[in-house]
């Protein structure tokens, strides 16, 4: 198959996965089976993993095509709570929009949106308790909104200014927020996943009730740490929720290079861990599955592995242009819709929301974000500062600064 000067020409038999679409093809998701909300059973939380393997191959849904809540997984969520969820999701989207634009204007070095995936972090965050420890990846900014991290503080981190709680040390979006039990993000994919299991083991060891929750993307499931998380979580029945956000893409690489021909949720079967595949764009389903898993963990049932089936509507990051590797507008073909739109329609459908309220809230949030941004840059911009004093670069390498670092610090001229 490949041309070559004067050497053997190989007839390759190697299987290589293909993509859902490429720029030269038209996206087509018609092969996806989208079951009705009535199709999934909701087992008791202390069920044996071996008895519910169907959950790993199904798709837990609550909102049906007419925006009604249906089926066994309907969570007990008041309209008020639903409105809070909607608001958080809209808040996240407004935040992402502004930060992305600010990056385009050179105010941030980098940014990553979670557009189309807002239901995941928001609904999951709301289904958890404050004392539960979050070990997120970089598309769960929604958790911070749920836990009421001041938006200004998030922005100050993203522009590494003098009010950045992590002192200008990390790229934008690599948040850390101890007070909110939100673990410091790593650039190295997946490393937090097995750490979360250790945190959960410690919680069990101390006899406490708090659980750990972690997230990786579809592409990241291939990493060794994901395996470690599954092996250790299962071996010690750690109270942990391990989430896979399957947004179909890992930069330019389709999820087919990680799903090994089956669902991600199925990966947990061989570890006696319950795997649940959930419509990640269905706020109610995400909430319900998370609540179920959290209860299971708190009751000593151990880990749950949740695949959140969703779609990365935009580019990987500000460094990325998805049109160069996937079908134009693939997002528009995605059959599970948009999470904000779906919850909005549900609320309208049950007479708890209106287009007008929605528009007003959108406007309000946009204005709030703008005000937050203005306040944030009043504490310093990335380019101009003020930043933390330069010599603080040498702090926190160790608890107490050893002599060789003091010497280096002095050379920076502090």
């Amino acid at each position: 198959m490949m041309s070559s000067a004067n050497k053997t020409i190989y007839q390759s038999k190697l299987f290589v996965p293909t993509a859902s679409s490429r720029p030269e093809t038209t996206p087509d998701f018609s092969h996806l089976k989208i079951p009705s909300p009535l199709a999934s059973k909701r087992p008791q939380v202390l069920v044996d993993a071996a008895d519910v393997t169907d959950l790993a191959y199904g798709l837990v849904r609550v909102l049906d095509d007419d925006h009604q809540a249906k089926g066994a997984w309907q969570p007990d969520l008041s309209p008020d709570k639903l409105r809070v969820g909607l608001r958080h999701m809209m808040h996240v989207r407004a935040y992402d929009r502004r930060m992305f634009n600010m990056q385009r204007q050179g105010k941030l070095s980098f940014y990553m949106k979670c557009t189309g995936e807002e239901a995941i972090a928001v609904a999951q965050g709301m289904a958890l308790e404050d004392g539960d420890m979050l070990f997120p990846s970089y598309r769960q900014q929604g958790l911070l909104f749920v836990r009421k991290r001041p938006v200004v503080d998030m922005m100050c981190h993203c522009i590494s200014n003098a009010k950045d709680n992590i002192k200008g040390r990390q790229m934008p979006v690599f948040y850390s927020w101890k007070e909110g039990n939100f673990f410091s993000l790593s650039g190295n994919l997946a490393t937090q996943y097995s750490q979360a299991v250790g945190w959960a083991m410690a919680s069990a060891y101390k006899g406490e009730k708090h659980i750990a929750v972690s997230w990786v993307g579809d592409g990241t499931t291939a990493a060794a740490d994901v395996y470690h998380a599954l092996v250790f979580a299962s071996t010690y029945k750690a109270p942990v929720i391990l989430n896979v956000v399957n947004n179909q893409w890992a930069i330019s690489t389709p999820q087919t290079f990680a799903n090994t021909g089956t669902t991600f949720a199925a990966r947990s079967i061989g570890f006696s861990i319950v795997g649940i595949r959930v419509d990640g764009n269905d706020f109610l389903a995400v909430y319900a599955a998370t609540q179920w898993a959290a209860e299971r963990a708190r009751k000593g049932g151990g880990a749950t592995f949740i695949e959140l089936y969703t779609y990365r509507t935009e580019g990987h990051s500000t460094s990325d242009n998805p049109d160069s590797y996937r079908g134009k507008n693939e997002a528009a073909y995605w059959p599970l819709g948009d999470p904000i739109e779906r919850l909005k329609q549900h609320l309208i459908c049950i007479d708890q929301w209106s287009e007008e309220q929605h528009l007003a809230q959108e406007k309000e949030l946009k204005a709030a974000i703008l005000a937050d941004w203005k306040e944030a840059i009043s504490h310093g911009s990335f380019a101009e500062g003020p930043h933390w004093p330069v010599e603080t670069m040498f702090d926190d390498v160790f608890k107490d600064m050893p002599a060789h670092l003091r010497k280096q610090r002095d050379q920076v001229g502090a």
Binding site: Y10, V16, S109, G168, F174, T253, F394, V397
Partner: protein, 338 residues
């Protein structure tokens, strides 16, 4: 000859090797259809097919392991690690396996794997997109370690690395992919087109691994560096007007000790520069060898200008990056000694 930036030169090297030898394939995250996040493998998928420009799962340890197995089965895999900072999950396969296979099997097996990884900072990448972990690989015997500083060298060295029957860790300073960078981030960026080493033959050629190059001759002090820092050093030397001899190591292991020793024996003074953290960086090995081989010629302690012993910070990138000013200061300190 053609004008090429480093990305094009590296791409050309892989293209030529793939064209000459069906056993060569490129593999890694996003290297296939998309052509790599830095575009180094652009077009290879389209030209050679999905089987030879292989997109791979996000598991660096798995990528290197499968490359080793392929190498044992007669292929010459060229692996891309998306950022050098993400080479650590593959360290066991590299250090315990790739480096030692030939030795531990009494010469029976080997895997001619080349591992490419963009390294270094200056792109606002923070602590996990800026590292220079080359020292680790020079400590594990059995690996060759290369870091080119320009398109011409990059192409010739990469072809040599791919053809080499020993494993080669090939670090590419990403800050200079598109143009030389002298450390002054406020100056407008210049491309490789105006640099003499941006002239690159379109066809096949190799540069021998293990040979340094003298970028600029001089008598007062020897400056030893590699990768991006060669350009910063060159600019610092120019700015200071000092009569320094600048050596671009190109290959760290095997190290061109002849070139180094000859120079230091002439100048009696030396400054070693790298971007990696200082403690136990490769500079330490260079200093140790020089003080041993050239002790009686040395008129001043050998200086080191390096990254600080902290993670690479996002906000203080330019305070971390070894600047011209720091290099000049070190040169002057060295020259003041009498």
């Amino acid at each position: 000859m053609a004008k090429m930036n480093m990305i094009q030169a590296l791409n050309s090297a892989m293209d030529i090797c793939m064209n000459r030898d069906p056993n060569v394939l490129v593999m890694g995250q996003d290297v296939g259809y998309f052509g790599g996040v830095f575009r180094c493998t652009a077009g290879l998928y389209q030209k050679y097919g999905a089987h030879r420009a292989l997109d791979m799962p996000i598991a660096e340890g798995g990528i290197v392991a499968t490359a080793i197995g392929m190498g044992v089965n007669g292929l010459r895999p060229v692996v891309e690690i998306q950022f050098a900072d993400y080479i650590y999950p593959a360290v066991d396969q590299i250090v315990s396996e790739l480096a030692r296979l030939r030795h531990r099997s009494g010469g029976e097996f080997f895997a001619p794997v080349t591992i490419r990884a963009p390294c270094g900072g200056g792109i606002r990448g923070g602590q996990t997109h800026s590292q220079s972990p080359e020292a680790i690989f020079t400590h594990a015997c059995g690996l060759k370690t290369v870091m080119p500083s320009n398109p011409y060298d990059a192409k010739g060295l990469l072809i040599a690395a791919i053809e080499d029957d020993d494993p080669v860790i090939f670090f590419e300073p990403k800050r200079i992919y598109n143009g030389p960078f002298d450390g002054d981030h406020l100056k407008p960026a210049t491309g490789w087109a105006s640099h003499p080493l941006g002239e690159v033959p379109e066809g096949y050629y190799t540069l021998e691994l293990g040979k340094a190059s003298i970028v600029k001759a001089g008598n007062a002090v020897t400056v030893i560096s590699y990768g991006n820092m060669v350009h910063v050093a060159e600019a610092a030397i120019k700015a200071s007007g000092l009569d320094a001899e600048l050596i671009d190591l190109r290959t760290l292991l095997p190290l061109d000790t002849d070139c180094i020793e000859k120079s230091v024996q002439k100048t009696g003074r030396c400054v070693v520069i790298h971007e990696a953290t200082r403690t136990s960086g490769f500079g330490a090995e260079i200093v140790s060898q020089i003080q041993e081989a050239c002790f009686w010629h040395l008129k001043a302690p050998i200086g080191r200008v390096t990254g600080w012993d902290t993670p690479y910070p996002h906000a203080f990138e330019w305070e971390y990056f070894p600047s011209q000013a720091r290099i000049i200061e070190a040169l002057q300190r060295t020259l003041e000694c009498e």
